[in-house]
């Protein structure tokens, strides 16, 4: 389909390793969000991209987290030196705008497990 896709769907890594998570948004959507969902918690905002504007990185929990969005499309979330508390589902969403009625379309998420 033409929805948001994320890869990998599952990632198991060892503590201290780096991981890269990928998000392919819906074609033409200018806004892209990354969220983290831990067990029993709601969605925690991580970072927001809008067109060519500087991203809003205010939700990144530490400097081990970074994200890029190349060519206004695909985005990669990188976590360096992973820790066990990084284990969570990482969700990506895209939308065509940011008004109140704009729907965020979510991907299925990447489940990250840090051993």
């Amino acid at each position: 389909g033409a929805g948001v896709s994320q890869s990998p769907s599952n990632k198991v890594t060892e503590k201290g390793k780096d991981v890269e998570l990928r998000c392919d948004p819906i074609s033409g959507h200018t806004a892209l969000y990354w969220y983290r969902q831990s067990l029993g918690q709601g969605l925690e905002f991580l970072i927001y991209f809008q067109g060519n504007s500087a991203p809003d990185k205010s939700g990144l929990p530490s400097d081990r987290f970074s994200a890029e969005r190349t060519g206004g499309s695909v985005s990669t979330l990188t976590i360096q030196r992973t820790q066990q508390e990084d284990s969570a589902v990482y969700l990506c969403a895209s939308s065509s705008g940011t008004s109140a009625y704009n729907e965020q379309f979510f991907g299925p998420g990447t489940r990250l497990t840090v051993l």
Partner: protein, 116 residues
């Protein structure tokens, strides 16, 4: 920090029963959305409410936005097993200029199980 408190956290009911879940905050939101999330999938938008006191109906689901735009409720009539899932409310805070903020603040969700 603007928080959204959802209650109950867990709800298990029999098919055909009615239920209401709540989303409360001390902060004012310019709009509020309800999402449903199934295992292994991302949340899917059910409704957006913008006006204080607004009521929207989606088949057996009724959504209400509080008059002060600080709270919302979701009522399901005659629940079906297919309604099972995690229901999340998400508010869009008002910006300092009085307009809308692009960030959504999510509640922790209500996990609903409807037993046949």
């Amino acid at each position: 920090t603007q928080l959204l408190e959802q209650s109950p956290q867990f709800l298990s009911i029999q098919e055909g029963e009615n239920l209401t879940v709540y989303c409360n905050s001390s902060s004012v939101f310019s709009s509020l959305q309800w999402y449903r999330q199934e295992p292994g999938e991302g949340p899917v938008l059910l409704v957006t409410v913008v006006t204080g006191g607004e009521v929207k109906k989606l088949k057996r689901l009724t959504f209400q936005f509080g008059d002060a735009r600080k709270d919302s409720s979701l009522h399901i009539t005659a629940a079906q097993p297919g309604d099972t899932g995690l229901y999340l409310c998400a508010g869009r805070p008002r910006s300092n200029s009085g307009g809308s903020n692009y960030k959504l603040t999510f509640g922790k969700g209500t996990l609903l199980t409807v037993n046949p």
